[in-house]
Subunit: 112 residues, 2 copies
Amino acid sequence: MSDSHPKAETDPQLDILSLEKAQRMAEFFSVLGDPNRWRIISALAHQKLRVRDLAAAVEMTESAVSHQLRILRTMRLVSYRKQGRNVFYGLKDHHILNLYQDISEHLDEPED
Amino acid sequence: MSDSHPKAETDPQLDILSLEKAQRMAEFFSVLGDPNRWRIISALAHQKLRVRDLAAAVEMTESAVSHQLRILRTMRLVSYRKQGRNVFYGLKDHHILNLYQDISEHLDEPED
DNA sequence: TGAATACCTGAACAGTTGTTCATGGGTTAA
DNA sequence: TTAACCCATGAACAACTGTTCAGGTATTCA
């Protein structure tokens, strides 16, 4: 098989994520590493919202929300629909809600 | 039902994650938001390793790895077993590998 | 056309993060 | 006991992140 991904550098038995792939994973999870982004995501889980209403809902300035939405757009987590002078955002992908479920479980597991 | 979690502050129709819960979600995902931590996780996916060998495998200093392992321990993502003067780490939880699978898919999805 | 509305963007600044460096504790072998 | 080994930790510093603030673009309405 002529696979193009690099092998582990030190020990052939281990196969460690390549730096590039690890970087992509980290970039994605970093986007989910901000509490205000989670609040935005949760607000969009039930309905599409204008930036203005979203800002009011999560109690942030429109500017701050707009900055965050750009990041969520970059990671293709939200949908974007311009209608007149309003812009409606929604959740693009339901992987995210699955993540939310999974991690909620993990966080709720008892110590051992 | 006498639930103790706070309701949305602005609009009863929306239910947005509480600040506290959003914070916990974000803290968890932040841990997965570092490329070197993903390389450590991938190394531990197949076998338990001593700090020393882990450091060699991911090509980091033992100190840096030790710092990162502490973070992973705090989030209960890795197991810890001390044996003489060696400490073996492994993956504690398989939620993480599921996450890895899910997000790989997301990252590999074509643009649209 | 001019003003108001809805949203976006760049710069700057405070707060956070991850590494290195130096050191210290605990365990094993001589 | 002494020396070597394995790992953990605190401080410090550079790099990154998210907000605010000021301004800018595009659309609607009077």
